[in-house]
């Protein structure tokens, strides 16, 4: 237990006591919900006077609706889901949202069916050839129209010269149902979080073509999301919640044994309901792609990284908006920096991180190089959104005229 200097009960009794003590915390059955489940079940929130009630959700759309309606106070969320709700993309009224902290980096992947493997489509070039030569369009599944999986899928396909909105069909399938759809032959490929890709590989239903970390090493992925109203109404609760989950993240990464027992916990029926053998390998970075290759991934799923994973960088939030713009989900440029400043609650995170002895990094932006060689550092979001060869910007005309 990492005691703070004031002693844990000070948070319960003093003026910092949480305004709301029982929290309904939503999650999807995915390996990257680990820190949320560990925080709720392993006594990380009690010292701060909080009880975390875990609520498993059937789909990301369900989770979104319950978060917006207040049924859930906070949730393990896709970065892109929070921004879509905030900006009012996808047929719902905009609601002010907040990202309290990053929950994980890495650990998603793009996979193809056994059927494509039999046809010899086992690499990027073969896939691009197949897509451009075959008359029937392939169908790819992701998990939410504006979600991270859609963005990784689109980004990777585009980097191989495949237009994700023109050259292939794209459908939405909730993560736990991915295997069933693959088995039924309804999809040719899919981008999803673990353990669903590892399960497909283990059942010889498909293989992993690319990991999300090969697109962007240490990319942002799931966040702790809530409405802005929740943070403003219950600021102490929000901070205590972040403290508990940061401590749980640190605990998971403290040793190999802690990681292993976390994987064991996750396999329980009420969480992932999946054999531990499908969870643990990739959870600890041991990858097998189903094509005979096996490696220890240097950028495997991670939850803490001394706080690097947990800091809600403004540039991380802005990146998703640049991709919404690139693929025509946003018809015009938002004020990228201003929106990110509203949503990313660096203030809440930094206060919570300091309170549990995690160094709150001073920088609000970070710089990364993605697989197509482009560098993203948050400095020119509008220019970045327009810099891609393949895109679906709705205002093509002025762009073409400039050339």
């Amino acid at each position: 237990m990492n005691e703070t200097s004031v002693g844990p009960l000070a948070w319960v009794n003093g003026s910092d006591a949480p305004e709301k003590r029982a929290i309904n915390l939503g999650f999807m059955a995915l390996s990257d919900c680990a820190s949320v489940v560990v925080a709720a079940t392993q006594g990380f929130a009690q010292p701060y006077g909080l009880t975390l009630n875990l609520k498993r959700q059937a789909s990301w759309a369900n989770l979104r609706d319950n978060l917006v309606s207040g049924e859930l106070d906070a949730a393990h969320s896709l970065y892109g889901l929070i921004y879509a709700v905030h900006l009012g993309i996808g047929g719902i009224a905009p609601t002010d949202m907040a990202v309290l902290m990053g929950l994980n980096q890495n650990g998603q992947s793009l996979n193809l069916s056994q059927g494509l493997q039999t046809l010899g489509v086992t690499g990027p070039e073969a896939l691009a050839r197949h897509v451009h030569q075959s008359r029937a369009k392939l169908t790819f599944a992701q998990t939410f129209p504006t979600g991270t999986h859609a963005m990784w899928l689109y980004y990777w396909l585009a980097s191989q010269g495949i237009h994700p909105l023109q050259d292939v069909n794209s459908v939405v399938v909730p993560p736990p149902q991915m295997i069933a759809h693959l088995q039924a032959g309804r999809i040719d490929g899919f981008c999803v979080g673990e353990p669903w890709a590892a399960s497909a590989v283990q059942q010889d239903l498909g293989f992993t073509l690319a990991t999300s970390q090969s697109i962007w090493p240490d990319h942002p992925e799931k966040v702790l999301g809530c409405t802005r109203e929740f943070v403003e109404q219950y600021p102490n609760t929000a901070r205590a919640l972040v403290m508990a989950i940061v401590e749980a993240s640190r605990f998971i990464e403290q040793s190999a044994e802690n990681r292993r027992s976390t994987a064991q916990l996750l396999s329980a029926p009420q969480y992932l309901d999946t054999p531990e053998t499908c969870i643990e390998p990739r959870f600890t970075g041991d990858y097998a792609d189903g094509l005979g290759n096996r490696w220890q991934d240097p950028h495997a799923l991670r939850f803490h990284g001394n706080g690097e994973v947990n800091l809600p960088y403004l540039s991380d939030g802005m990146w998703f908006m640049t991709q919404f713009r690139r693929w025509g989900l946003l018809r015009e440029d938002p004020d990228y920096l201003d929106v990110a400043r509203q949503v990313q609650r660096l203030d809440v995170y930094r206060e919570a991180a300091s309170a549990v002895g995690v160094a709150p990094c001073g920088s609000d932006m970070r710089s990364s190089q993605l697989l197509d060689g482009k560098v993203w550092d948050g400095s020119d979001p509008a220019g970045y959104a327009r810099s891609f060869k393949l895109h679906a910007l709705s205002d093509d005309a002025p762009l073409l005229a400039q050339r």
Partner: protein, 191 residues
């Protein structure tokens, strides 16, 4: 439609409340005199609100109100002729949401019921928060106790004890509190 359970604890003016309710368009789904086991009746009838018509609420009525509040919480409105503020306080303390002295007018019933329902909801929310707080504190004490026992048994420090308990809980797909209870039980057994 509001499901109303009406309890008549009055010999003289039987039916005065029922008449007013009917006039105001409410439907009484069940009606009886004061019964010994009101919670059981509430469980069977599943009313949205309980109305008690009583000239003066005695010990028996209060007792039933306390039992309902504990076992089958519902908004309870008491209509009475009793002016004594002490009795009123007693009734509110027992779990009555609204205490109405004299004058049952049909047109006033709706706002009275609205207030009673709203008051009941806010009481319930407060009660749930208090219960959650008590439970958190109780769990935290049990976990602390188990940690202390484990530190003695394994001759380890606080952080190591927590880690051992958590690892054990996670690998058995349990909550920390469950492992804490097992440690306490085992230590009692081995004395």
């Amino acid at each position: 439609m509001l499901r109303i359970l009406l309890i008549n604890d009055t010999a003289k003016k039987v039916g005065r409340l029922k008449a007013a309710l009917t006039e105001a368009g409410f439907e009484v789904i069940d009606e009886s005199g004061l019964i010994i086991d009101l919670p059981a009746r509430v469980e069977t009838v599943r009313p949205d609100v309980i109305l008690i018509d009583t000239e003066s609420p005695g010990r028996d009525v209060m007792e039933q109100v306390v039992l309902v509040s504990r076992d089958q919480p519902r908004p309870i409105v008491m209509f009475t002729d009793e002016h004594d503020p002490g009795v009123m306080r007693q009734a509110i303390k027992s779990g009555v949401s609204a205490y109405i002295v004299e004058g049952i007018h049909a047109q006033r019933l709706q706002p009275i019921l609205d207030v009673a329902m709203a008051r009941f909801e806010s009481d319930q929310a407060l009660r749930a928060q208090l219960h959650a707080r008590d439970q958190q504190l109780a769990e935290r004490k049990r976990i602390e106790l188990a940690k202390g026992l484990l530190m003695k048994m394994k001759d380890c420090n606080e952080e190591e004890a927590y880690t051992l308990m958590r690892r054990q809980a996670m690998s058995r797909q349990q909550k920390l509190i469950q492992v804490a209870e097992q440690i306490i039980a085992m230590s009692e057994l081995l004395g």
